[in-house]
């Protein structure tokens, strides 16, 4: 049996087990479950390149006529569903909700609330349950959002932060600086979107509270940098230069135009962890720069590596390529590129390759990046960034700094 066959077999067993778990006590009567199960299977087995779309479309139509009490049983499979299947499930859920509300019938509010409350469920599915509840009950935000400042759903968390911020602003307007400060601080701790973090940091600064934005997001600030290597004509993105085969901060290289390249430490003070390579390495066009960091993790854990850059970038975590995007000067945004991987307990190596092309326009001179380590919600993961020096061996220790 091939590996692929094995995986497929495991997948089928998982789906079968999933169905039996999905058909819980609050699901439709047994005589309709067989039909429901078949329709659900069609939605869940839809796959890439439109495979299974015809069966899934039939299932959406069949399910659309079902009563609303099947909604929880359509939300639960989203926990394991593929992105394609989730969008099919959503289509069925929306159609059922439309028909139910148009027919003047109630949604299963208690079951939807139970689903919303259970943070183990898929964050997007929980937000969908929230939206369904909101359609029939305008008091939902006031009842639910105050407890959602640390919610795994980014959208729920964002609305909770917005609500807390409004309350803090109201307290500030009424002269209650103590309450305002407490609420701004709570909101800041929950905020994961840059616009909200910026607004809250400004409020807190005005109240005399200093905040560490880069630490809040988990940006790596301490790097070892090496460059320039050649990217004339764009050759550098695909080229495998020595740092990609293993980094030793003591090592030196022959770089672009025979320049002697050595690793040198660099710490950024930018609030969003931006490293300007034009300043840190020097102004070069058609060039590649590398940045290397070592982070200590107290435990093995999933992690997202998120990068923003106007330049073409590749990122490796412990030698595993996480991100590769060859696009130049079309825009730069925090969390522009995201790669998912695993931090080992102990020492982990992060390497980013930043390629600058040879465009002459003023707006194409940026050669920079920002990189952070976070969980899937965007919360900084607890790691210690090891400060390295060029005279240390690659395994050397140094004074560390805690990333909150």
């Amino acid at each position: 049996m091939t590996h692929r066959t094995t995986v497929f077999g495991i997948g089928l067993v998982s789906i079968a087990l999933g169905f039996s778990m999905l058909l819980a006590a609050d699901d439709p009567p047994l005589e309709t479950n067989h039909e429901f199960e078949a329709a659900l299977k069609a939605l869940l087995t839809v796959s890439k390149e439109g495979k299974g779309a015809a069966e899934a479309a039939r299932a959406v139509r069949q399910l659309s006529g079902r009563p609303a009490d099947v909604l929880p049983a359509l939300l639960r499979p989203m926990d394991q569903a593929s992105p394609e299947a989730r969008n099919y499930l959503r289509a069925a859920i929306e159609a059922i909700a439309d028909n139910t509300i148009a027919g003047g019938k109630p949604l299963p509010v208690k079951q939807l609330e139970a689903f919303l409350q259970d943070q183990a469920h898929d964050p997007k599915a929980r937000r969908l349950a929230y939206d369904l509840l909101l359609r029939v009950d305008p008091t939902v935000p006031q009842r639910w959002l105050p407890g959602m400042l640390q919610d795994p759903s980014l959208e729920l968390r964002r609305d909770a932060v917005a609500l807390a911020m409004r309350e803090a602003e109201a307290a500030l307007a009424s002269g209650d600086k103590g309450t305002a400060r407490r609420k701004f601080e709570q909101a800041f701790q929950g905020a994961r979107d840059r616009d909200q973090v910026d607004a809250l940091a400004k409020h807190l600064k005005n109240l005399g509270v200093a905040v560490d934005i880069a630490g809040h997001f988990g940006f790596i600030r301490d790097w070892m940098l090496a460059g320039p290597f050649d990217n004339s004509g764009g050759v550098g993105f695909a080229a495998v230069y020595a740092p990609e085969k293993g980094v030793d901060p003591k090592q030196t290289y022959v770089g672009k135009q025979n320049l002697q390249v050595a690793w040198k430490p660099h710490s950024t003070t930018d609030p969003y962890g931006v490293v300007d390579l034009n300043k840190a390495i020097g102004k070069h066009m058609g060039a590649v720069g590398y940045a290397y960091a070592v982070v200590e993790s107290p435990e093995a854990r999933p992690v997202e590596v998120r990068v923003g850059s106007n330049n073409a970038v590749k990122v490796w975590l412990n030698g595993q390529e996480m991100i590769a995007h060859e696009e130049y000067h079309h825009g730069n945004r925090m969390d522009q590129y995201v790669g998912s991987g695993t931090l080992k307990a102990g020492r982990n190596e992060v390497l980013i390759k930043v390629c600058q092309n040879e465009q002459k326009e003023e707006w194409a001179q940026s050669w920079s990046f920002q990189l952070r380590l976070c969980d899937r919600v965007g919360s900084a993961v607890p790691v210690t960034v090891v400060k390295l020096r060029a005279d240390q061996a690659s395994a050397g220790t140094a004074e560390g700094r805690e990333q909150p």
Partner: protein, 408 residues
């Protein structure tokens, strides 16, 4: 001689076509209307309107969008996006007569939502036919719904074909021909043109394209016994066999990556550094360049063609009317931009909508080749989407509202 005759027969037969999948005259099924012409047969359109006058209805939208409304029968379809990350993709259906929202569906975006702040994930215009609507987003998510909002199929093209890269934001629109849906996915990474079966979403063919960001909507041209679908980038305009994806011919040059080509009776009018009029040759021979001129400049809006004349809006907001025979300027008039929307034409009038919400109504029935501005109609809203025309009405879309404007 035989070849020449065959070529002449083919070229003579190139014409606007009504899409084969049951689109009726009077519908506005895609970006720039019937076959991307920007021209409607509708009569009795309004000349003047304001927030107080000739607004038949106005519907609030759940999110931003640069996509245009498309209209088939009594259904008006529209896309929008919302959320801090623009990862909620909306497909909406309104009743043309009164603006009642008939249904709304959402998708979760699966591709990158990175873009320039001016644009958004609901930038490509959907395309519709009697079977429903095909909604395409800048995230490379694409879905088909029947007229009652039932999902027919959905695909995540960013997962099917990883490596799509356009940090400015994709915006080219799909087109339908027969049972085929053509999807323009030219970009800086994994760049391709795709044809899928509009009934199932299954890939029919996929061809590699130049790697560069691009916003050009494909154009379908049909002649006697032959139909071609044209894809344009800044480097080339290439004709493919719609059924197989076989490359038929290509013309290379400094072409526009923003302003889409248009069919001008027997010629293909191609925006670019030099605005070029092409006559397709037979087989795989390079097309004949009839003329080219640097006097016709396009900015974000695409050209419109009617009765042997080309209408373009340049960066300075000047509306230029040129002769399609030789590219020479016939008249020009300064409007006030900036313009993102492509002008549309109906009932002898050209409607040019600027970003600030002013629509210039220009009379095209002039004997003296001088432009006459009939009206300037202001709505206090921001507009980037090209208007649609149907039901004796104009449909204007802002980030917040869909307006239906008609004589009352």
């Amino acid at each position: 001689m035989k070849t020449e005759l065959r070529t002449a027969a083919y070229l003579g037969g190139i014409s606007f076509i009504l899409l084969a999948s049951a689109v009726q005259a009077g519908d506005w099924p895609q970006f720039r209307g019937p076959n991307g012409s920007g021209v409607s047969d509708e009569k009795g359109l309004p000349i003047r309107w304001s927030s107080e006058q000739n607004i038949r209805w106005k519907a609030e939208l759940p999110g931003r969008g640069l996509s245009c409304p498309v209209i088939v029968g009594d259904r008006v379809y529209l896309t929008a996006c919302s959320g801090y990350q623009q990862d909620r993709l909306h497909v909406l259906c309104f009743r043309a007569a009164d603006g009642k929202k008939l249904w709304e569906r959402q998708l979760w975006a699966t591709g990158s939502t990175m873009c320039h702040p001016t644009t958004c994930m609901a930038a490509p215009t959907p395309v519709a036919d009697a079977q429903g609507v095909y909604a395409f987003f800048a995230t490379a998510d694409v879905a088909a719904y029947d007229p009652d909002g039932h999902l027919l199929w959905y695909r995540s093209l960013s997962r099917d074909y990883p490596g799509i890269a356009n940090n400015v934001g994709m915006a080219a629109s799909p087109v339908v021909f027969g049972d085929l849906l053509f999807l323009p996915l030219e970009n800086a990474g994994n760049s391709f043109a795709l044809a899928v079966d509009r009934r199932t979403g299954a890939t029919r063919w996929k061809v590699e394209r130049h790697r560069d960001i691009n916003w050009i909507t494909p154009l379908v041209v049909s002649g006697e016994g032959r139909t071609e679908v044209l894809f344009q980038t800044s480097r080339d305009i290439t004709a493919y066999d719609p059924e197989t994806g076989k490359r038929l011919w290509s013309h290379e040059g400094g072409l526009s990556s923003v302003s889409s080509p248009i069919l001008g009776r027997d010629r293909i009018l191609v925006p670019g550094g030099d605005f070029t009029a092409l006559k397709a040759a037979s087989g795989s021979a390079a097309p004949e360049v009839l003329w080219k001129t640097n006097r016709i400049k396009t900015s974000y809006p695409s050209p419109v063609f009617l009765d042997g004349r080309i209408y373009t809006l340049n960066q300075a907001g000047i509306l230029v009317c040129s002769d399609a025979e030789d590219g020479k300027t016939l008249w020009q008039v300064r409007l006030k931009g900036p313009f993102w929307a492509t002008p549309v034409i109906a009932d002898g009038k050209l409607y040019a909508l600027n970003e600030e919400g002013t629509t210039f109504v220009v009379d095209l029935r002039t004997d003296d080749d001088e432009a006459r501005i009939l009206a300037q109609n202001r709505l206090e809203d921001k507009f980037l989407a090209t208007p649609a025309i149907a039901h004796r009405s104009l449909f204007l879309r802002s980030d917040q509202f869909l307006y239906c404007i008609g004589e009352q």
